[in-house]
């Protein structure tokens, strides 16, 4: 099953990248995420591993994931090592009007789970999509708020000078 959500953020891609690539900030904007822990020595970058859990229905599902693509400041992709089969991607693209299109994609399922798995994937899809939609919206608000604060701080500094 594949679901995705996107939003436009009034900030450069680098600012969005700073947030999405920081494992310590995942819980502050990712909807439904109950756990996001660094596993291993590499906290960030290609090959970094995280243990993540997402509440869907009556269970927290997820498992160990590994970053398989880390192209600053455009794409982060991950795939599951254990737990539910999943492949996800953050995709950042700057638009002509100076904003950034932020897209979050997630493909998930459990190989070999048959008809029950197929039904479960479809029943879960609206819940997962809702989490994705909230996540990109919260990310957008977070980054834009930081932009406002940064501009205000710059103004104050300029006034003092």
């Amino acid at each position: 099953m594949r679901v995705s959500a996107h939003t436009y953020v009034s900030a450069p891609a680098e600012s969005v990248w700073e947030v999405i690539s920081d494992p310590a900030r995942q819980l502050s904007y990712m909807s439904g995420i109950t756990r996001w822990e660094v596993v291993g020595e590499e906290p960030v970058g290609l090959g970094a591993r995280y243990r993540m859990l997402l509440r869907v229905g009556s269970a927290e599902v997820g498992g160990l994931i590994e970053l398989v693509e880390f192209a600053e400041p455009c794409d982060i992709a991950w795939t599951s090592v254990t737990g539910v089969d999943q492949r996800g991607r953050w995709r950042l693209r700057e638009t002509a009007d100076g904003r950034t299109k932020v897209e979050l994609r997630l493909a998930y399922g459990i190989a070999g789970s048959g008809l029950g798995g197929w039904i479960a994937e479809h029943v879960a899809a609206p819940m997962v999509k809702d989490h994705l939609r909230r996540s990109v919206q919260q990310l957008g608000r977070l980054v834009e708020a930081e932009q406002v604060r940064a501009r205000a701080a710059a103004r104050r500094t300029a006034q003092r000078v």
Binding site: V56, A59, G63, S113, A124
Partner: protein, 316 residues
């Protein structure tokens, strides 16, 4: 392929869930003598005993569990609107004794909801076993339970599971607890069985109480039928302390619940409490009665809080 063998005598106890030394010795009562009914009962008991598979922890199949998780998720999420809280209270690794109150008759929806939650949270790679009544495992359609990590309740199996470093779920109240009348649904009753405490002390593992609510609303449980069970000598033949009587779908009046029933879609909420290190809290030689009262009181408090959250039976 799993092989079904007759369990050796020491593994043939029909004690329920936690059983380690828990299952009380059979009480004196009528024995099925040489009458026809007595002979039939004894024959059925022998057949059932022969069907009890020898416990083999290796029968737990992580791939099988993983492939069944979506179906369990559907049942738990849609039918029971399951909610499991506090899984973070379970130590991330190492052996741990999960002690639960048991509800919902022989179908135990709380176990379905918790097993799904545990396997999804920690991953199927973490060994997780559940003790169940021997008769449950002897039923023809219940073979797949062993692949989920369900093993016959016996002290040996409990020790074996914990020594292997696994998480072990036990229900000290067993059938006595699971078949309590619906109007006692929000009451933790382990029948003073303390084997789980001895087990935790012997294996030096923490206890994590697991409190659930809603299971007793999946049918209308009228009576445990413990006197009826004694009258029919079921406790001596099958180590069954109860012969429950309930009103359940699709049977109407359901005596014994041997064929199960269709559980009503009651909301199941499970709360996992912080781990208890018995020696750290009660000293090097804890008093069993004191620990028992402490654990049960703790679980009862949590169950009362969960009950207070519920506005309507079944609906939650």
């Amino acid at each position: 392929m799993s092989e079904t063998r007759t369990a050796p005598a020491h593994e043939r106890r029909n004690g329920h869930a936690p059983a380690p030394e828990d299952a009380p010795e059979p009480e004196e009562g009528p024995t099925p003598g040489g009458s026809l009914i007595g002979r039939v009962l004894r024959s059925v008991a022998d057949q059932a005993q022969r069907r009890i598979p020898r416990a083999d922890l290796d029968e737990r199949d992580p791939d099988f569990i993983r492939e069944r998780l979506p179906l369990m998720w559907l049942v738990a999420s849609i039918w029971f609107r399951g909610e499991v809280r506090g899984l973070g209270n379970i130590p991330d690794s190492g052996p741990v004794l999960l002690v639960g109150n048991h509800s919902g008759g022989n179908l135990t929806p709380d176990t379905i909801v918790f097993t799904l939650a545990f396997n999804a949270y920690f991953g199927v790679e973490r060994a997780f076993y559940q003790l169940a009544h021997n008769l449950v495992l002897a039923m023809p359609a219940m073979g797949s339970l062993r692949k989920f990590g369900t093993v016959a309740a016996s002290p040996q199996n409990a020790r074996k599971a914990l020594e292997s470093g696994a998480a072990l779920l036990v229900y000290p109240g067993g059938d006595y607890d699971a078949h309590r009348p619906s109007w006692k649904g929000n009451h933790v009753d382990f029948d003073r069985r303390k084997g789980f405490i001895r087990l935790a002390l012997e294996q030096n593992v923490p206890i994590v109480p697991v409190v659930s609510i809603g299971g007793q609303e999946t049918a209308f449980f009228l009576s445990r039928g413990d006197r009826l069970a004694r009258l029919l000598a079921l406790d001596r033949l099958f180590r069954l302390k109860v012969l429950p009587i309930s009103i359940a779908v699709p049977w109407g009046l359901n005596v014994g619940d041997m064929l199960g029933h269709v559980p009503l879609p009651a909301k199941i909420t499970v709360e996992t409490l912080p781990a208890i290190d018995l020696r750290a809290e009660f000293g090097p030689k804890p008093d069993l009665d004191e620990v028992y009262d402490y654990v049960v009181d703790l679980m009862q408090d949590s169950l009362d809080a969960l009950a207070a959250e519920r506005r309507l039976p079944m609906i939650g």
